[in-house]
Symmetry: C2
């Protein structure tokens, strides 16, 4: 693939940005544990190392990028707060990080989002601004918030500070377990895969990076094979953190660092999620299970290899589980 | 309380038995992680250290005692296998340990036990022998198995090898986190509380030991206050691991080492379980949640103190959760 991205268009974060992020966010995020499972090693024939970001602050790896953005602001900018649009983990995480710094966070959410999600953002101290459920309404509302408050817009993934923050996760994984043949991480907008690409290409360039995606939201898969960004049109998948599409900053890394994009069906995702709860006794969200689902599905890629698995988060409605 | 237990009646395990158990079972059990939770620290005003035996082999601390019994047998006895009656974690754990040693384990279970539980025992290599659902039928069947095979009967808790094995859990907790004002563990038959008593009274005699019990199965509470063993009569509680009653070996420790027995209602147990899944992202079984429920209920006992919480297991039917 031969993709040219004009350098002037945006800043591509570097390994220095990742190590700076690590030092910056250390007081505010967990160094999450790495778990292993005899059951899944037997099932896959691989040695799997699960980096458990479900145990992260606010329940997901997104706390890393959000904390890096929030704590990287100078005093004057910080005083005006931060804002984003997200009905998921990024909104929670930005609220968490802003709360830790003592600055306001405004999260634009569709009025149709579940009350539980709005309450969770408020629980972390965030301000919820409701909009009509459309991209246009969301963007208009966000612009309005920024115009009113001067808040710094922290995009969920198309932001170099966020990408650098997410990169600290694989850095820890490598420090903890040493050389890996591969790392598998779910892909939605591509923030985690981008951060992983920066970190691993510097500390372990021989490690292959696989992006795991729901078959029902396979925009990264199609983009990867087409050689340019293809957006999904309102995909339906239980892995609700992975519905969004790549953007230029993350496409840069997907197109240059990823070995392959692997797909999993809804049933495979639910099976992997259920098995993880049952055998590893950890609560993971559907998006997290996509990585394991693709490993189970492609044993020839991982057999007899040491493989890192990014368990991205654990925020799930316990009263509405997909196997009930 | 002034309880005299004739020394000749049974062997009371010592701290040496616990340290020997630790060395014996080390290759077969996990040194489980200790987790902390800002959420629960804020909620209780205490500093809680969760010893996560839900991550243990076979999904519960019972793997410790079972492994100690199985690997302590001499070659000749081992060759005849082991046997027990249990429709819960002890049956699973004995099957697991016997499987690791390559010897047969027979588990007597009522024919009315859920197929999932029988299949789980078989999944670990155990042989299920079904009996009518009564104590008499269970004991008769077990005697039959022992007479047929010469198998060694490993009682779920009234067994000094099992108690010594369970004691390794608190030993690890103490090594990991240092001095604690208190340790809270659920109580059913009392194997875990007994092992905890031996370990803590030797390595940290100032640490108070609290037993946490479902109000609906409060035989340990009533025994503690009466000064002698009172048995429950078919108690109904969601904490199905805690329905059994104390026996002489465990009563010895409850009557001499426990500061108090704390009770939790069914609703309090379910709330604590749900909150643990939601905030800590770990799968724990109802019996495990009883300890946390009593801490939430008795803040005056634990405020500003460092408190160990034994999370005893994570074996739960994910398709039949108490909050659904």
């Amino acid at each position: 693939m031969n993709i040219t991205v004009p350098a002037s268009e945006f800043y591509i974060p570097t390994f220095d940005d990742v190590t700076e992020a690590r030092d910056r966010i250390a007081p505010y995020v967990h160094r999450t544990p790495v778990l292993t499972s005899t059951f899944f090693d037997d099932l896959t024939g691989a040695s799997l190392f699960f980096k458990c970001e479900n145990f992260q602050k606010a329940g997901a790896f997104k706390a890393r990028g959000a904390s890096n953005a929030v704590f990287g602001l100078d005093e004057e900018k910080a005083g005006k707060g931060v804002a984003t649009h997200s009905s998921g983990n990024h909104g929670l995480s930005l609220s968490y990080a802003a709360g830790r710094r003592g600055i306001p966070a405004t999260v634009v959410m569709p009025r149709t989002a579940p009350d539980a999600k709005k309450d969770a953002v408020r629980g972390y101290g965030g301000i919820v601004r409701e909009c009509e459920p459309s991209t246009a309404a969301r963007e208009a509302m966000l612009e309005e918030v920024v115009a009113e408050t001067g808040a710094d817009f922290v995009h969920p993934y198309n932001d170099h500070r966020v990408i650098a923050g997410q990169g600290t996760c694989s850095l820890e994984l490598h420090e903890e377990v040493g050389p890996l043949a591969a790392v598998v991480a779910p892909i939605g907008g591509g923030g985690m895969i981008s951060g992983t690409s920066i970190a691993m290409s510097n500390v372990a360039p021989e490690t292959k990076i696989y992006a795991a995606e729901p078959k029902n939201a396979d925009d990264a898969y199609r983009s990867f094979h087409a050689g340019h960004i293809i957006e999904d049109d309102a995909p339906q998948t239980i892995a609700d953190g992975l519905k969004v599409s790549l953007r230029p900053r993350t496409w840069h890394f997907v197109s240059t660092h990823v070995s392959d994009v692997l797909l999993a069906t809804e049933a495979e995702i639910i099976d992997a999620m259920y098995l993880t709860w049952q055998r590893m006794k950890i609560v993971i969200e559907p998006s997290s299970a996509v990585a394991l689902a693709t490993i189970i599905k492609n044993p020839e890629l991982f057999k007899d290899k040491r493989v890192g698995v990014i368990v991205t988060g654990g925020n799930v409605d316990l009263k509405n589980l997909p196997w009930m």
